[in-house]
Every structure is written in structure tokens, then in C-alpha cells.
Symmetry: C2
Subunit: 210 residues, 2 copies
DNA sequence: TTTGATATCCCCCTATTATGGTATTGATAG
DNA sequence: CTATCAATACCATAATAGGGGGATATCAAA
């Protein structure tokens, strides 16, 4: 059976060495490199052909997020697990958007690292609980909107407008007259405090009014 | 110490009973109710005051997603863990958006349920690995941008347009003439295959071109 | 050197949208 | 019962946007 190739970027020397020792206990793992910074990330990844990359977020020089972006330009297969001390610094979403596959807090590393590596290789996404909650909360949509008191009909028309339809088309779609559409649009603009189609569509889409 | 109150909605009788038995083994848990459907969800939740709700996705009558929406209308505190057989049916995101806090595949239930309950009460978001990966993949932004071959200037102008600015304003902002803005806009419309501001803004925002 | 892409500017004409009115109907809340 | 609101509809005028041209300058690649 071929060994699992692991590459480590972590600027804290003692943590990095601890990780190496922890992972070397498992004979199915091979550490193909461990680095205190990500300056040579491209060369190192190409040479090392890692299955799993452990990437610290905060490093001198190239930070972890930037490193992930660079890696993803030419390698979509390596599984990348981010390591960080804090769970609130906004880097979380940047890293995940850039293409990271997992996200562990350093305080969970000794407990969860081996399990996390197994999980990520099986197509999972290992995350510390507080990180997982951040991600889930991101998805929660707060709805009790209608901040602008749009009526159902007005929302319908704004929705159609935001799809790019002209007044004429909206009228035909809804089976009402062109003039009625214009009346609705006027009221929508009033309520939204805008004065043009562009502003209305922008506001509608950005604030998810439709 | 006050017990942890658990409420169960699951239409598979044997799984539901299995869950009850599993959780009753722990003396810190109290099952405040177990139901095969979510028809009375509002009354039951108000009466039971659960700390944790286990909610099956697929149930006759009111489905799990709908039930979560109803619960969240008046209870923001109960921690809701969804249960499902499949990890690919699109309900995943609906449920999480509606306000669920965790998501387990039924095949992981016996292994992970107790740990999941602890995790969710500590502010985590327990998920089966494959669900976690779905969520993470949702965040990954695929970049193969510039599908439409917009130049930098064109992207800049489209961005300004999508903020709701008029041609006049864009011209003033960029320090170029009104006619130049129009020329750019015409080319943008060509490249995007649209014929109006509305369509252009809609496309720009929905496809994240800016 | 010529070509192609980009950015800049102008003109003409038409179509669509914005603003300001007024008005009728039906449903609903006081 | 009546005041209000939502939805419907129309008119007139002004402003903005869309579609068709044509033109010049730059820069890099062929």
C-alpha cells in the first residue's frame, strides 16, 4: 500500500516538530516536507506531490490563504487542512473560499489531527466545532425582512425587474397593462428610496429582497 | 444539574425507538417527546421546551425543512440536528438556511449522536463528513473568470453600473466622457449578449462578474 | 509593418424609463 | 359606513438608455 504523503507549513517550530512526530508514529504516513514559511510553496508542492497539506494561516511572508490560492492554481487534488489559533479572524472564509478542505484550531490539533487526515482523505471536511458553527451561521438566512414594506405584488415586479425584464415584458408576463407596471415601479422606487432601475436592481439583489 | 431536554421527530419507528433507548442510557438526558410526524410541531416544541431537537428530513405531512422554519419563527435557542438518509438531495442547504445547527446521516447516528448532541450544545455544528464537504464546496469559489472576455476597464464600468450608477455618474467618477462610457457599455452588452441595463446588472451580480 | 485589442470621443435617432399627476375598484380595518 | 390601502389604469413631459454609425491614439503581437 502506498503511503500517504503529508506536507506541513507551520511557522511555530515546536508545533511543527510536534506534528511531525505525531504523524510519523503512523507508518502509513510519510512527511514529504515541513516548512516554517510558504515562500517556496509552489516548488515544494510540485516536488513533494502531497496528498494532504497542513497549512498554518499566520505565517511570515506569504500567509496561508495566499499559499492556498497559489496551490489551487495548479493542484486541485491535494487536500488542504488549515491550522489557526483563533476562530474569529475572518481568515476562515477567505481560506475556505480559496480552496481549503478543512479547518482546525491549533488547540484541537493533537486530539483531532489523525482523525482529520483520515476524514479529509475520505472526502470529508474536518472542522473544529466552533469553525463549523461559523460556517453554518454564514448560511443561516435571516428572513424577517420586508424592511421596506413592499407588497407581494411589488416584490413580484421587483423580482421580474431584477431578472432583467423590461416594463413591457413584465406587463405581458403578469397580464397587466404597461401603465400599471409603471405605477408599481414608482411605488417600489419610493419605498426603496431609489430613482432608477439600476439602483433598484442593485439593492434588490444585494439585500436579497427578492 | 438540570437535565438536557431532547425532542425527536422521526417517522421510522424502529430508528426513533432506537434513538430513545440510546439517549435514555444517559441520565443527563430527558426525552421530552418523540413523534413520527411534525404536524403538531409548534405545540409540541412550546410545551416540551427542548434544548435539542432531532429532526428527520423526510416525513409524511410537514417535512423537516418546513418544520425547522416553523420552529425558528418563535424559538431561536433550541439546537436542531437534522437526520437524513442521503447527502445529496438538496434538502441539505434548505435545512441549514432555515436554521438547522447540525446535520447527520442516519448511518452515522448510532456512532455520533451522543457526541453530536454534546457538540451542538457547546456551540458547535456537528455534521457527517460528507455533509461538511458539501457545505465547504459550496463556499469554494470557482474562478475561471472572464468567461466573457471583459477588459479591466469594462469590468470597472460594469461594476459601477451594477452599483446603480447612471452613465453620467460613471463618466464623472472615472473622469471620462459620457460618450466613452456609452461606448464601453455597448461593448459590454455585446460581450454579455444582453440588450439592457437590467439584464447586464442581473448577469453581473448573479454570475459574480464584478 | 500591419493587424488586433483597448480606450477614448462624437453624432443622430429611437426606445425606454423617470416623474408628476389623476382615477377607479375591491378589500379591510376602524 | 367610511377612510385607507393595494392593485389597476391612463396622460404628459423630461431624462436616460439603446443601436447605428465613424474617428483617433496607443500598445503589443504577428
Amino acid at each position: 500500500m502506498t503511503p500517504i504523503r503529508i506536507l506541513i507549513f507551520e511557522d511555530n517550530d515546536s508545533l511543527r516538530e510536534g506534528l511531525c512526530q505525531l504523524l510519523m508514529l503512523r507508518e502509513e504516513y510519510t512527511i514529504v516536507g515541513d516548512y516554517g514559511d510558504a515562500r517556496q510553496v509552489k516548488e515544494v508542492v510540485i516536488k513533494g506531490r502531497p496528498d494532504v497539506i497542513l497549512m498554518d494561516i499566520d505565517m511570515p511572508g506569504t500567509n496561508g490563504v495566499e499559499a492556498v490560492k497559489q496551490i489551487r492554481e495548479y493542484d486541485q487534488n491535494a487536500q488542504i487542512i488549515m491550522l489557526t489559533v483563533f476562530d474569529d479572524n475572518g481568515h476562515v472564509f477567505d481560506a475556505l473560499k480559496a480552496g481549503a478542505n478543512g479547518y482546525l484550531l491549533k488547540r484541537n490539533v493533537s486530539d483531532m489531527m489523525v482523525q482529520a487526515i483520515e476524514e479529509v482523505l475520505e472526502g470529508g471536511a474536518p472542522m473544529s466545532p466552533s469553525i463549523a458553527r461559523l460556517v453554518i451561521n454564514q448560511l443561516h438566512e435571516q428572513r424577517p425582512i420586508n424592511l421596506y414594506m413592499l407588497s407581494d405584488r411589488e416584490k413580484e415586479i421587483l423580482g421580474s425587474l431584477a431578472k432583467g425584464n423590461s416594463f413591457k415584458l413584465i406587463a405581458a408576463d403578469l397580464g397587466i397593462s404597461f401603465e400599471t407596471v409603471r405605477t408599481h415601479i414608482k411605488r417600489i422606487y419610493d419605498k426603496l428610496h431609489v430613482h432608477s432601475q439600476g439602483e433598484a436592481i442593485s439593492k434588490a439583489l444585494n439585500e436579497k429582497l427578492v
